[in-house]
Symmetry: C2
Subunit: 407 residues, 2 copies
């Protein structure tokens, strides 16, 4: 079998996805992979044979350090869904021909649930054609919605970013002492893990957010207005965290109520935006208060200047563990994180069958939501707090964090 490795990145970027790339790269090099290749823009670029050889790109250990600190996907990404191989075998034949030409023995794909679908299909097809190539999935998503893993690399840093900026926005919003409602829109289509992270802001030095609206909980505009009105009698400045994916009881997204168009990508995802704006306008039209909407937008997924060291370390580890497993003969699996204890926080890696992860979404458990459905319980904080611990300082050059990019 081939002694070369190839790695790709897929799905939405995170601020630590390149730490997983560094983990795969270094572990393959340590195991004497002759060449480690990268596919540009994931499986889509592989099909177009847009392939780089890492040896000519990442040489020094300084470059590896910069790679760990560079947000977004160094290799580029894609949202390409592989067709069913019964229907379009030619796509698979092409991919395997390219892999054979490159003498690939180890194939790594860093991504979320859609990307794990790619690994599931490739490894299944490989098994049917008796390929020796080993396929491993490396988890990554700020959404934290992968099954069978305690959490996903990328979530800790995004959660830390959200905790930090919620504290800052709360400070900013109280400054005039007037009636004010700030609605902050946070990513997470169907799973509210990121929005829940707004609960981390509360502490000795921060009042915390006043309401958290998860996509798991049907949203009722009247109840929302009632809560806002009641709360504002006690406290002038309210800060509310809403998921971009909150839906009405009839299944429509709240953002669909606004005038802006929505559209559907090739995975069937809607591009959701405008939820916070809709809600802040809704409040402003009905209550005597100033309002503001803030969308954390892509800022929350690419904030390389504000990562969790715990997260970036684990991102690196899952990359290395995937390489180790592949070289030891595993295929068709994903590296998962298993929490051993909370205090002290200890976490290890394990392997899980890829078919049990692909295309599934893990939601926030309802036991971690308070009885009013407006806040997270202590159990959620216990779960999330360890994931945002410690920082990895960027390498600042001339005032800005240094990145490494493909030239």
């Amino acid at each position: 079998m081939g002694n070369n490795a190839i790695v790709g990145q897929s799905g939405g970027p995170t601020s630590v996805i390149n730490a997983s790339l560094a983990g795969v790269l270094q572990a393959c090099q340590m195991r004497n992979a002759q060449h480690v290749y990268g596919m540009q823009n994931g499986i889509q670029g592989l099909l177009e044979e847009r392939i780089i050889d890492f040896s000519s790109i990442i040489g020094s250990s300084m470059e590896v350090e910069l790679l760990k600190r560079t947000p977004s996907s160094f290799l580029g990404s894609c949202r390409y869904k592989l067709p069913d191989f019964a229907r379009q075998p030619e796509v698979y034949e092409k991919i395997f021909a390219i892999l054979d030409k490159l003498d690939i023995g180890y194939f790594f794909y860093i991504g979320g649930n859609d990307s794990m679908d790619t690994i599931a299909k490739l490894s299944e097809y490989g098994r049917q054609v008796n390929s020796k190539i080993r396929f491993m999935g490396v988890p990554k998503t700020i959404d934290n919605d992968l099954e069978l893993t305690d959490h996903t690399p990328g979530y800790g840093s995004a959660a830390k970013y959200i905790g930090v900026v919620m504290k800052e926005l709360i400070r900013d919003a109280t400054v005039y002492g007037n009636k004010f409602v700030t609605v902050v829109e946070i990513m997470g289509r169907n799973a509210g893990w990121l929005t829940a992270a707004a609960a981390l802001a509360r502490g000795e030095d921060c009042e915390g957010v006043d309401m958290i609206c998860l996509p798991e909980i049907p949203f009722n505009l009247d109840r929302f207005m009632e809560k806002v009105e009641t709360m504002q009698k006690e406290k002038k400045s309210l800060v509310i965290a809403v998921s971009e994916g909150v839906k009405l009881e009839d299944g429509r997204y709240v953002c669909e109520l606004s005038e802006d168009a929505t559209f559907v990508d090739s995975f069937g995802h809607r591009n959701l935006t405008g939820t916070a704006r809709y809600l802040s306008n809704y409040v402003a039209a009905r209550l005597d208060t100033r309002t503001r909407s803030v969308e954390l937008s892509t800022l929350q997924r690419c904030a390389g200047h504000l990562t969790s060291r715990t997260d970036i370390t684990e991102a690196y580890q899952v990359g290395g563990a995937a390489a180790k497993a592949a070289f030891e003969g595993h295929s068709g699996e994903m590296v998962a994180l298993r929490r051993l204890s909370n205090d002290p926080y200890q976490c290890t890696t394990e392997l899980v069958p890829i078919s049990k992860v692909a295309n599934l979404e893990k939601k926030v458990p309802m036991e971690w939501v308070n009885s009013y459905r407006t806040d997270m319980t202590h159990d959620f904080i216990t779960y999330a707090r360890p994931l945002i611990q410690a920082e990895l300082t960027p390498v600042y050059i001339d005032g800005l964090p240094r990145h490494i990019i493909m030239k």
Copy 2:
């Protein structure tokens, strides 16, 4: 004359305004001011006698350090414009009666051009009634639009934030390799200093932003579209920085073209928002490209986790210099920053007459804009780069930056 000092904060918050407060506080204490008072919510709170004594609030040097690192205005802020004293002398009589009751000898106001109007009026009224109270202005604004000072405390940190997030957004926006236009909306009603800071992103490791639209330059939608179309033939992912205040040649704000309401505050400022969204929708409707709008919103002015050490040091210095000047007999002046050299960067403080600062706005000089009016020249970079140098690490506790708040 009174031996007590009082200090207030006014206008929009910044991430370093509390460093100036710390500077005033410590310099007054060193000069043996008996009491240093703080007015809550600026002059508005003073009129309502909402006053705190710092001795009961900020004691330890650790608390002073936390104060320097806490974004937004510790004392709260206001946007209260003092009436003309010829018309409403009773407001001034009330203020001076309260100051006399507190035995105030030194009065400090940290703010932007509107706040300097407050200092100008109070010191002028004081002169007319032979008050011994000394009034000093301490400059603060992320907008960098104050006259007679090389730059304003608050600008360097906001500029650094903008440089950092533009680099991150550029990385994020290139990831799929598809046609994509990202329009980023940056604060600055009439002066484009903050939007110009997007030019700092370009470097060895970053392509930089593709277009910068300042409010100083009349905006033409057709020319904008033409440039976007031309540029996208060469480069698929474009990132464009626009000021919230860009105006058409006929004087209307671009954001007024959208459906969203605008309103006017008591200083006559419009609340501008929706420029980036309007432009990204405009592009999406006319070109075959995906688009996204990102509003940096209040995130850019309260990012205490990402300050410039140069800025925070200078913010502290201008506070101290104001106290020193007041104790030495000055009144009716503002502390300004005067740049001595660029390389090495050296900057000192000086005093300027408050009447020459109040209510004026310093714009970006047109010599610092390129001939296409789409980018900044090297001279701007030479001006801005020193202001974003070095970092002040937050005190992270349990994963989040620690602040200090009024209990």
